[in-house]
Amino acid sequence: MSEISEVRALVAGHADFAAGLISAVEAVTGRGEMLEPIQVKGLCGEDIQHLLQERLRATGALVIFTDLQAGSCTMAARRLLREEPHVVLVSGTNLPMLLDFVMSSATNTHDAARTAVDRARSAIAAYGGPA
């Protein structure tokens, strides 16, 4: 086993979004441990913010991946960024993005996140159906 299991990012979103995506990352790459799912069910915005902050500090993660731009996790994370300016927040997270992030060879975690965003954008496409 290599030493790549440390948490580099938190993943937070609606319902089981985080756990579901991370289980997919684990299935594809075996590197699910680099991502920590944040469970926010039943929490108010303030509590989400505190939870994110606590987990950032506990894990040393430098990135927060969230689902919806207007989602409460994203809002809480944006508030938190005022106190944690070294953290990068990415919204609109999808599976290609997280795969690229955990497989990145970039030594700088922020760069890995930004590159993952660009790759994820280009991985979206619609096929077939009537023109």
Partner: protein, 162 residues
Amino acid sequence: MTLVLNRIDDRLIHGQVVVGWGQPLDVRFIVLVDDAVAASDWEKELYRMGVPPEMEVRFHSTAEAAPLLDVYRTEPDPGILLTGDIATMHELVLHGGVREVNIGGIHHRAGRRQYLRYVFLTDEEQRALRDVAALGALVAAQDVPAARAIPLEEMLSEAEVS
């Protein structure tokens, strides 16, 4: 069209409001009434960035909003009235014109008891909701349109079971 939903939600603008209610109701504007948000440009910008471009957000303090609600009700497009707490909605109901109140999310905090998955209340908040109902507003909890609207009294009786 007019204000099609009067919602109490401590997360204010978030996914359920913008997508869950906003899309099926074709909402074009949100009247966000919150004294703290109205006083902070940074907070306003935060919420503005959370909505799609076809949706407008208008920010008001409680005192400012009350007399404006009648104007908003004459708008041609559908809109949502949104407050972050019960006290603010109570004020607006007192002013008149709010006939239905949607409890969308009041989450866990010290001193609150759980009533639904997304509703936690202190005794004082519970009384405030009953006051709102006594003023003639139909109060029901419903987080998203696909869920059943749970009338206030039914919701309050839930806690005695759990």
